[in-house]
């Protein structure tokens, strides 16, 4: 029922309330709009700078260009570690919306990525937000061209042409040079610790094409080899597609410095070759300068496997092989030097005042206390002077002399240390040196809490390089270099030159505290080892290089205790239990230049198995040395008839035909 109801009070009341409420609404809206305008002012006027930066960061993108890594060259400029071009496909996770779709699109061009899909996804998920992840590496040119054409249409996908490390000599240098690999979390932590904070971390470290040195020279000189990353500035849109490249923003990468080593690639290769299947290490150095020409550990591994990331299966095989290919047997492992140590012992005796002409009768064994110590020759060597004892490697002579007042463990240790054993070389470039042990009374006191007293019976073992004595191949080589040098305590080094900067070799070697006459006696003993028909290495250390001769010392270091072993022969027992074979030498015997030490792990005998290897390596070093060449290549004996014949006089009618300096094209014979 319609009714015109004019109840004024109600009407007025409604209108009044409405007006108040409308004012209120107006107030709320006004407040809201003022707040929005204020917010707009805050964003645009106060924080404008920040958002302008973010805006240009959106618009422009810096793509890093990894620098070519410096090369590693041998002493003659032969490239040992170089770079080769490598094409790879990268994915920037931050610019990809749907990773599965993106990978599907890539798989369309590169079907091989389908097989690795799970591994790729794992890599992408583990990568840092703004670091690109490589999903396919080492593409051939055809695939690369296909992806390159296609990549600009797939958001977040980029192709890169990097250089990757290549080790031209494969395993020959693996241990000295080491290898490069992708940066690990541990490496990153170390980098963080070095630079202070993560902000300053060079972003190139996270680039998938970038590798850092993990071992050896690559690690020790990583900073020099790295170089400085370049960058290109590109304009991208929201989906990450490249709109334009800003050539003004291009900054080329600076290549790393080249490192020139003292090593010789040919000698190094020869060393790997002569070792064959055997396990061990060989070090050859210049006795005057300390330059290491060869430092090779066998068996080796291919460092190229590590560059793009070795599979865990392959790594497992390397790691678990009993001949330990991953171990650097020149510096990273120490062995009992065996009889090679006797040169040091003999020198200690001489320095102590023992008369070298004094004879000791070797009956094949030596009784000390209630124990019998056997000589390696069952029947005995008969009466031995020091010279004979070195030549024959007579154990009984050293047993007999070592506990005299003039000798003793402390004197032997002191001599050995002065010759370079029992400590690491501070100036040697690569990490991983083992100290080894040169025992004396002090050592026994600190290392053996339960039995701190030195027993004279232990001196017997030490005198023949057994017992507690352990040395590395590098120490043995240095020891022989010092014996051969005679005056200076040379120290080994590996790096000649970094970039254009010649590394000044360490010249201020300390003087050796040995008398010249004493050194001559032990050297003569070593000469006899190799050149006397009765010497222990006569058969296996003849160089056959003119009048150049080698002076050496064999060593056979036992691995197992012989006490309860009746059969001392090494054939037919497990490899792990066989004796180590060692050989140390210098050459030429008359005017030494090079020293060598060869350790053949479980190689049974120094004479039979180590000496031939040392001979081959030394031979190559001598042949390659121009000074030695002059001695090796003797002038042909001159035929007296020819020598006395008068010179053929040049007559004018027999003048030689003038040379046609500009031959006509017809005159050139067809190829």
């Amino acid at each position: 029922m319609a009714e015109t109801s004019i109840i004024f009070s109600d009407v007025n009341e409604r209108q009044g309330v409405f007006s108040r409420r409308v004012f209120l609404m107006g107030g709320v809206v006004a407040f809201g709009l003022f707040a929005l305008t204020g917010r707009l002012a805050q964003l645009q006027l106060i924080e404008g700078g920040k958002y302008r930066r973010l805006s240009s960061a959106n618009q422009f993108n810096y793509r890093l260009i990894p620098p070519p890594r410096g090369q590693i060259l041998d002493r003659n400029g032969v490239v040992i570690a170089g770079n080769r071009p490598s094409f790879s496909v990268l994915v920037m996770r931050s610019q990809v919306k749907d990773i599965d779709e993106t990978l599907d699109q890539i798989a369309y061009v590169l079907p091989q990525t389908l097989l690795r899909r799970r591994a790729i996804l794992r890599d992408i998920n583990q990568s840092r937000r703004f670091a690109p992840t490589a999903i396919a590496t080492d593409l051939n040119w055809e695939d690369f061209a296909k992806v390159n054409l296609y990549a600009s249409t797939i958001p977040g996908v980029d192709v890169s042409m990097d250089e990757v490390r290549v080790y031209h000599y494969g395993g020959a240098f693996s241990h000295v040079i080491g290898y490069v690999g992708k940066i690990s979390d541990k490496d990153l932590k170390a980098e963080n610790a070095a630079t202070g904070d993560e902000e300053q971390l060079d972003p190139i470290l996270l680039h998938p094409g970038f590798r850092i040195g993990k071992q050896g020279i690559e690690k020790a000189f990583d900073k020099d080899l790295r170089g400085v990353a370049g960058a290109r500035k590109i304009e991208v849109n929201a989906t990450g597609n490249i709109i334009a490249e800003d050539s003004d923003g291009m900054r080329p990468a600076t290549p790393g410095e080249d490192v020139v080593l003292t090593l010789d690639a040919e000698i190094q290769q020869r060393a790997l070759e002569v070792f064959g299947e055997d396990s061990g290490g060989a070090v050859l150095m210049n006795i005057h300068t300390g330059e290491v020409l060869c430092m090779m550990s066998a068996p080796s591994f291919d460092p190229n496997l590590f560059v793009s990331g070795i599979s865990s299966k392959a790594y497992g095989l390397l790691r678990d092989y009993e001949r330990l290919p991953l171990l650097d047997k020149c510096i990273g492992s120490t062995y009992a030097p065996g009889s090679t140590f006797k040169v040091a012992t003999a020198l200690a005796f001489l320095e102590g005042g023992i008369n070298p002409e004094e004879r000791v009768v070797c009956s094949g064994s030596y009784r000390y206390g209630n124990r019998s110590f056997a000589c390696h020759k069952r029947g005995g060597h008969g009466p031995q002077t020091m010279h004979d004892a070195i030549k024959n490697s007579c154990d009984v002579y050293f047993y007999h002399m070592c506990n005299r007042a003039e000798a003793g463990p402390d004197r032997i240790a002191q001599t050995a240390r002065a010759l370079g054993m029992g400590h690491v070389f501070e100036n040697f470039e690569i990490a991983g040196q083992k100290r080894g042990t040169i025992p004396d009374r002090e050592y026994k006191r600190t290392a053996f809490k339960n039995d701190p007293k030195w027993h004279p019976g232990e001196t017997l073992s030490v005198a023949i390089g057994q017992g507690y004595v352990t040395t590395s191949a590098l120490q043995l080589c240095t020891y022989i270099a010092r014996i051969a040098n005679g005056q200076k305590a040379v120290e080994p080094y590996l790096v000649k030159k970094i970039g254009e900067v010649e590394k000044v070799p360490f010249k201020d070697f300390k003087d050796l505290p040995f008398s010249r006459a004493h050194l001559d006696i032990v050297r003569a003993g070593m000469v006899a080892v190799s050149n006397d028909v009765t010497g222990t290495a006569y058969r296996n250390s003849r160089l056959n290089l003119g009048n150049i001769e080698m002076a050496g010392k064999t060593g056979t270091a036992q691995v197992r205790s012989y006490d309860k072993v009746t059969n001392r022969r090494n054939e037919g027992i497990p490899w792990k239990l066989r004796d180590h074979g060692l050989f140390v030498a210098f050459a030429p015997a008359d005017n030494p230049k090079y020293a060598i030490a060869v350790i053949v792990q479980h190689g049974m005998g120094g004479s039979m198995f180590a000496a031939p290897k040392a001979r081959e390596i030394m031979k190559l070093a001598l042949i390659k040395d121009p000074e030695m060449q002059a001695r090796i290549i003797q002038p042909m004996p001159v035929d007296p008839n020819l020598a006395n014949a008068p010179d053929q006089p040049l007559t004018s009618d027999a003048a030689p035909e003038p040379l046609d300096i500009n031959p006509s094209p017809d005159a050139i014979p067809p190829q």
Partner: protein, 387 residues
Amino acid sequence: MAESALTRPGQRERYQNKFAQIDWTLCLMMALIAGMGSLVLYSVGGMSWDPWAYDHLFRFGLCFVVMIGLSMINLSIWLSISYWAYGGSLLLLVAVELFGKVKMGAQRWLDIGITDIQPSEFMKLAIVLALARWYHENSAKDANWSWKLLVPIFMILIPFTLVAHQPDLGTAMLILITGVAVMVAAGLNWKAIATAAGAGIVAIPFVFTFVLHDYQAKRITTFLDPESDPSGSGYHILQSKIAMGSGGLLGKGLGLGSQSQLNFLPEKHTDFIMAAVSEELGFVGGASVFLLYGLVIFMALRIAMLSHSHFGRLAVAGAIATFAVYVLINGAMVMGLAPVVGVPMPLLSYGGSVMLTVMVGFGLIQGVRVHRYQELPRQNSIFARFE
């Protein structure tokens, strides 16, 4: 006022007189906003009238004619159709619930043969008309504590629930806020408002866990911390803030906004058009747009105050409240002050249906202005016999 001199019967009903009563200043302000929209659409369309700028102007022109036409309709007709309009919209919403088409994960559309319609758009206006009629016919006291309070509450909550279930949280919130605005304007007492606000706050955690879809909840959480996920859900807000912030005082210039032009800015022609305006025209441009919106809203509120009928007042208040809520929510959203809900900037954003809804609302507002002297009878409501 000069218009009040028209006292002869029927004179106000002449169309030329009605035409003169239209608030042309308000029309000018609206045209300025739409023109500004067209300018920016021209820019983000790659300095081209295609695909958006021309369409936008054309639609505004078409809807403007519709608005003028609607403004000629007598208020008594609006009043009489209000419940029918509400009832019809509600039926359509139920139909959507039952037979609606699913697009982009939401069931919002109804296929009527020629085209798809979105009944929730009708409801925005219908709720205003229905509530305005309810409070027109009931006394101010009824707006306070009484059983009659339940009727408008259900009038709001039923469409709110249906639309929220589609799910279309933006439109549902808009219906809720508009309805509440009409109730508040009608004189709902403060105790009731405070109680409702308290209940709302208590309900938030419940709504968050049980009612909201995952993507809706995520929008709200990323709104609270947009930088946590730059290319996920927070991407929109962050890119919008970068666009606006990098504009500075005077902007990068038309066609030169890198954020808008290189597609960093999502939905730059619809929901995020304010970010494009601010990037290219700077603080000056952005603040001018807000100023224009302020003027439009205050002119409409003034029209509400001038109306002689309570229905007219409430209808204008409700219609302009919808408009104001659009502006405030969109503005807050693009500047990272509110979660990303699909609410466009009225008149500025590209989009046909929202343009039509807004212009029909302005048709009602202009109609109230034209018929402001009209007294409407307070018919006995269906509940009158209980009084």
